[in-house]
Symmetry: C2
Subunit: 267 residues, 2 copies
C-alpha cells in the first residue's frame, strides 16, 4: 500500500517526536541535572552552616567545627543548656560530646536565646536536614542511574565523578568523542584558558583530581595518574556510548597495573 | 560593713558577667543575625530556583518566569500534565494559568519524568517552601524587634533597611557615632574603595538605595534624597542610642518636606 502525501507527513512528524522524546528520556539529562543540583546544594549547605554557626555561636561558642549535620541536630535539641545532658551530646558528637557539654555547663555568662530567634535557628537547622537528605537521595539516584547509563566508566571510577565528567561534556556521545587528553582536563577549563591566554602553568587534571587515588598522590604522580585514568575512561566511554559492551573488567585490570607502576616508580 | 578582698573579687566578677550578658542580650545582635540570614537565604533561594527551572524545565518548558513560590507549588502538584487542570493552574498563576496550561496540554512530545527525578524535584520545591517561610518569619521578627530597638530610625525607613544599616555599622552605638555622610555611604564600601584607590566616580548611596523613594527617583535626585535621608537617620540614631527619646515624628515631618522640595526642583 502506497502512502499518500498526508500520511507520509504524519508518519515523519511522529518519527521526529519519538526521536526528541527518546533523546530526553535517555539517562544523560537526569544524571547531569542530579550532579549539578548535588553540587549547588553543597554550596547552599555551606552558606546555611555558616549562618547557623555565626548566630547560634553567640550563645554556644563552645561548639566549633562539629560539622553541619551534628550542628543542626544540636540546635534542634538545645535552646538552653539544661535541654541536653552529657549523654545526649555524646550521642551526637561522639566521645568529645561530654567534654564539650561540661564546658557549656561550666560557663555562666551565657546570654539567653529568645523564643523567636530560636525558632528561626530551628528553621535553619531543618533546612540543613532537608537538604542533606536531598543530597543523599540524589547520590543514591546517581549511583543507580550512572551504573545503568555508564556501566564501563562507573566500573573504573566513583559514580559522582563519572556524573561530573558527563555533565562537563554535555552528553555521553560528546564525552565518547573526546580524546583522553581532553577528558584529563575536563573541569580545568579556567586554568587551561589562563594557560593559553597568559602563559601560566598548564593544568594537569580537572574533575579527576577528586579521585582519592589521585588527590592522595605526590605532585608528580598526580599528573601521571590523571593521564592513565583519562586514557582508560576514554576507552570506557566509547564502549558506553557506541558498542554497549562491557569491557571494564579488563580495563580495570590494566588500570590497576599502570597505577601500581606509577606508585612504585615514586617521585 | 566592709567587703574583704575575696568578696570584692566576686562582686566584680559578677558585675562583669552581667555586663557581658547585657551586651549580648541587647537586640542589636539578633537583629544583625536576622538580616544577614535573611539576605543569605535570598541567595540560597535564587540558587534553588535556578536548579528547579533548569531541571523541571526539561519536562515543562512552558513555565517561565513564574516566580519561585509559584514554581515550587506547581512542581509539588504536577508530575504529569493530567495531575492538574486549567483551574488549578489558574489558582497558582492567576489569569495566565489557563493559557499556560493549554499550551502544556497541547504539546505531545514531552519526555516522561521519572519517579526518582520527580521525588528529588519535590524535595527541592519543599526546600524553597521552607526557606520562604523562614524568610517571612525573620521579616516579622525584625519588624517587631527593630521597632523596639530603633524606634526613631524605623519610623523614618523600612525595618529591613534599618536592620541593614545596623548590621553594616556593627552596633547601634557605632551607627550613632557616624556622621550623616558615612551613613549615606554604608553598604557602598566597595565603590568607595574603588573611588579612593582608582579614581572611579564616588558613590552617592549604599544601602539607602533600596528605599523605594530613592530608587524610583531620577539620577540627580537620588543623590540629594540619599543625603537628606542620611541626615535625618543620623539624628534618629543618636536618639535611639543615647537619649532614648522619641523624636521621629518631627524628623519625619522635616524629611517629608525636604523630599518634597527635591522632587519639585526636578532634575
Amino acid at each position: 500500500m502506497k502512502e499518500n502525501r498526508e500520511e507520509k507527513r504524519r508518519r515523519l512528524i511522529e518519527q521526529s517526536k519519538e526521536t526528541v522524546s527518546e533523546a530526553y528520556s535517555s539517562l544523560d539529562h537526569p544524571i547531569m541535572q542530579a550532579i549539578n543540583t548535588y553540587k549547588e546544594i553543597e554550596k547552599v549547605r555551606g552558606i546555611i552552616y555558616e549562618r547557623m554557626e555565626e548566630w547560634y555561636g553567640i550563645y554556644f561558642p563552645e561548639l566549633k567545627n562539629v560539622g553541619q549535620e551534628a550542628y543542626a541536630r544540636i540546635i534542634t535539641s538545645m535552646k538552653n543548656p539544661e535541654d541536653m545532658t552529657g549523654e545526649s551530646m555524646k550521642e551526637i558528637l561522639g566521645e568529645n560530646g561530654t567534654v564539650i557539654y561540661d564546658s557549656i555547663r561550666g560557663s555562666t555568662t551565657r546570654p539567653k536565646l529568645g523564643d523567636k530567634e530560636y525558632s528561626a535557628l530551628k528553621d535553619l537547622a531543618d533546612s540543613e536536614k532537608n537538604l542533606s537528605a536531598l543530597q543523599k537521595a540524589l547520590d543514591s539516584y546517581m549511583e543507580e542511574s550512572v551504573k545503568k547509563a555508564l556501566p564501563n566508566i562507573s566500573y573504573l571510577i566513583d559514580h559522582k565523578i563519572a556524573a561530573e565528567l558527563l555533565a562537563k561534556a554535555g552528553s555521553i556521545d560528546r564525552l565518547a568523542s573526546f580524546p583522553a587528553s581532553t577528558i584529563q582536563l575536563l573541569g580545568a577549563e579556567k586554568a587551561l584558558f589562563k594557560h593559553l591566554k597568559f602563559g601560566s602553568k598548564p593544568p594537569k587534571y580537572g574533575v579527576l583530581y577528586k579521585l582519592p587515588q589521585i588527590s592522595a598522590a605526590s605532585k608528580k604522580q598526580k599528573g601521571r595518574l590523571a593521564r592513565v585514568y583519562a586514557t582508560k575512561i576514554s576507552i570506557a566511554s566509547r564502549a558506553d556510548a557506541y558498542t554497549k559492551r562491557f569491557i571494564a573488567d579488563k580495563l580495570k585490570e590494566q588500570l590497576d597495573k599502570a597505577v601500581e607502576r606509577i606508585m612504585k616508580r615514586g617521585d
